[in-house]
Every structure is written in C-alpha cells, then in structure tokens.
Amino acid sequence: MTLDTTEQKLASGDRSGESDATSLSFMRRFNWEGILFPFGLLAIAEVAMRVTGVHSETLATPRQILATLIHSFGNGVIFGLSAETLSAAAGGLLLGSLIGLLLGIVFGAFPRVFELMELTIEVIRPIPSISLLPIALLVFGFGYVMEISLIAKSTIWPVMIMTHAAIAGLHPRLREVALLLEMGLKDRITKLVLPAIIPSLFVGFRLSAGVSLLVAITIEIAANPRGLGYAMMRAEETLRPDLLFALLFWVGVLGWGINGLLLLLQKLINHRFGGAGAR
C-alpha cells in the first residue's frame, strides 16, 4: 500500500448500471412498426383460426379474447382482481425492499457482519419462493399475508445486493470531505451516503418490482385463491380459454406499464443524483 492509493482508486463509475438502450421507447422516435407488429400477428391468428374453423377448448380467437377483456372491464371484475394481485405485489415489494435496504446498509457499513452472514444468505437466496409455499401456508394459511411473505422473500435480494455494492463502492473521498467538514452521522447519511446510493438502489428496486408481480401470480396460480393468477386457473377449469387469454394479455400489459413507469422514474433519478447533464 502506497500512500496515494486513494488517488488511484477510480470513481465507481457508472452508478446507474443501466445503459440508455433501455430508455423508454416512447421517449425516442415514435415506433409505428413496433406497435403494428403485434397487431399484425393477432390479425394473422384471427384469420387463420377462422379459415381453418378451429373450435377448441384451449384456444380462443383474438376477437373473442378482446370481447371478453372489454366485458371484464365493463363489469369491473378485472379491476378487483388486479387490485388483489397488485396490492399483494406492492406490499411484498415494499416489505422485501425495506429488509433488503437495511441488510445492504448493514453489510456495507459493517463488512464483518457480511462475512458472518454471507454463507447463510447465499444459501437462502437461491431457494425459489414457490418452494417455500408449503411452509408459508402452514404458518399464515391462505390469503394476503402468506402471499406478501413469499413476495418479500424474493424481492429482498436485488435491493440488498445493489445497496451493499453501492455502499461498499462509495469513494473514500466522500468520507474525508465529511470528516474535514466535521459532519455528524445524520448529515453524513442524509447528505452524502443516501444521495450517492439512490441510483443503484433504484435499479435494485426496479428489478425487485418485476419479480414481485411474477411471484404474486405464481402463488395465486399454485395455491392462493385470490387475484389474477387464481382467476386464470378458474378460467382454465371452467373451459374459458377466452377469459384465460384475456387475463394473460392484461398481466402482460400491467407488467409493461409498471416497468415503463419505473424506467421513467429511474431516468429522472439518474439525472437528479448521477450528475445532471453529465450523461
């Protein structure tokens, strides 16, 4: 170790961890082809199914699916189902992110604690949430709490990892600036550490948000009698392929919308905290 090592440590660099390639499509040139493409596919499916006269208990024509979707909007059923799934996903996401944030901060601030817990965490982390379903059912029974607990289990990790890495990667210069200005602990956290890690933290949160919807629907399909997942199972059992596909389509739209919203937010956050105008 020479004395100038701190000089040689370069900035942790691109804290956003995201390239501009993922920026929202509607912020670029309006992409007509990209929008027309799926509608083209649907039109082909519609024509093909009518021409061949498919009559199936597992498939429905796009027109039927659309009619069912509109009907579900009309009677409000789909709103209730979405609210059940999304509230569970949001609850689990918030709980999991909070735990992940705390763990990440503790691990970043106290490397010894991380050394102590690393093996434990790394063994628990890869266990699929769905395989904990039996235990969760035993503990919580059916319902909201069980679903939230399993979603939280999966959403801890992206936030934890990103927070930990961001804190470990804080430039030593920030600490020295804080010392030289005689800043207290509260000011150091609120004025230096948090703003510096927010871009990374949000990337973790966005990844967790995607996971939360996946896990929510998986649990509803597997066991929990509520939400969009359960409605899909019911549609399958009652031989309603039109409803099943309408729900599937709606889940896709929901995921797309949520991701788009979070990407937009991420762009704003990166602009605000990552050095406005610098990228």
Partner: protein, 270 residues
Amino acid sequence: MMNTARTGGLADPEGNQKEPLVSFKDVGLSLGGRPILEKISLDVQPGEFLCIVGASGCGKTTLLRLVAGLFKPNSGSVSVAGNQVKAPSRSVAMVFQDYTNALLPWRDCTGNVSLALEGLGIPPAERAVRVSDLLAKVGLAGHESKFPGQLSGGMQQRLQIARCLAQNPSILLMDEPFGALDALTRRSLQDELLRLVHDTGVTVLFVTHDLEEAIYLGNRVVALKSYPGRIAAMHKVDLPKQRNHIETPDLPAFRSLRHELYSFFADDHR
C-alpha cells in the same frame, strides 16, 4: 467573511519571531509496518505559502493528511496554532486533486459550496449571499445552478476551492490541485489562487510534482526524499510578491532555484 485577515499573504513569510501556525516536531509515521515519514520537523508561519515537492510515494500527501487530522503520527507531534492535531477541524480545509470525487454530483454549484456552511446555524438568506460571493470570487458567477457534470475540469476545481474557502479556514491544504488540468487552465488557476490567498490571508501548504509551479507559487519550497519520506532540502523563494507567467520565470532568482531543484531531483534518480 474573508477580507478581515490581511496578513499580507506573500508579503511576510520571514517573520520567524511569530508563533508558527503549523508545527511538525520530529514526526514519524508508518502505515502497515512500512515507514512512510521519518523525523519530519517543520514550522509553517501564518500567511506563508509553502510548497512541498518530491517524487511519487515520498509522503507529500501524507504530510498534508497529518495536518488535516486524517492520519495520526506514530511518533512526534503535529500541532496547529499551538494545539496538537487530534481530529479533523473546520479551520483546516483540503483541496483534493480528484475534484470529481470530492464534489457532490447531485448538488449544483450553490449546493456544493453550501455544504460547508450547513449545520452552522447561519440563516438561509445570509448563507445564500455568502455562497454567491464565494462563487463570484472563484470566477463562477453565472454558473450557480449548474451541476459539476456540466462544468469543465478547471471550473470544478474552482468550485472545490470555493467550498474550502467557505469553511473560512486558517490553513488551506492543496494536494496537487492542478495536476489533472491542462497547462493553460493550470496557469490561470495558479494566478487566481495567488490572488485569493492574498485576499484572504490564508496559510497554504501546497503539494505538487511540478517544480516550476512550486517556485512560482511558494514563499518556500520543501523537497522531500523517499523511503522513508524525509525533508531533504528547504529553499526560500526570493521572488517579488507580484508574479506573472510572462516575466517571473525569466527572473534570475526563479531560474537559479529551478536549476537547483532540477539537479537535486536528477541526482535522486541516478
């Protein structure tokens, strides 16, 4: 805030009867078992501009860190204004070479300077006035709401200097502050630094690789030698208070000191 202490800046480094502002007494420091500095004894007078030169790894930066209270000596003592340095203090400011890491990219110029004034109980209105005065002083008027990422390297370094001056320090430590800047920017910042130092009367310890920079800025140049770092030579700079880049380097005193320092370090590398 600053113009109160016109102690003359460059004018009066020779007042040896004065109490030294910074004093190293037989200081030794090792890090990880390796001796970094050995038997450093050095007094810096108030208002002095002391330049520290030496090869990479000779302990120049460590010397500054000892004054800042970021390191503690293993032996001997470092004192500022008669008090032994135990922890960092707002009266000692430090300008780092890597301004990008030392500035907060999420705060604009005003916010970055204001960081040094927050938590002191200054009313926001007064703070705003002081911040804009400081920004004007370092030539950043009109850039108040720009973020560091929108500024050139030279402007970012000015911003860091403004933040350090906001601390109203009695000692300004500068660790190769212009090392990452291009030659023209460096020269104009050198001149502006001399003006600021003259205006504020702050005492400066300035670390550099650049021997000409050391002579141009300093009242005194200390040369360190490495392994372990120790004071190998000390030169007074006999140049007039007013300096400029066109004539000062041609003065005989400048040229002879440059000659002396260059041959000193040339021997060192043989």
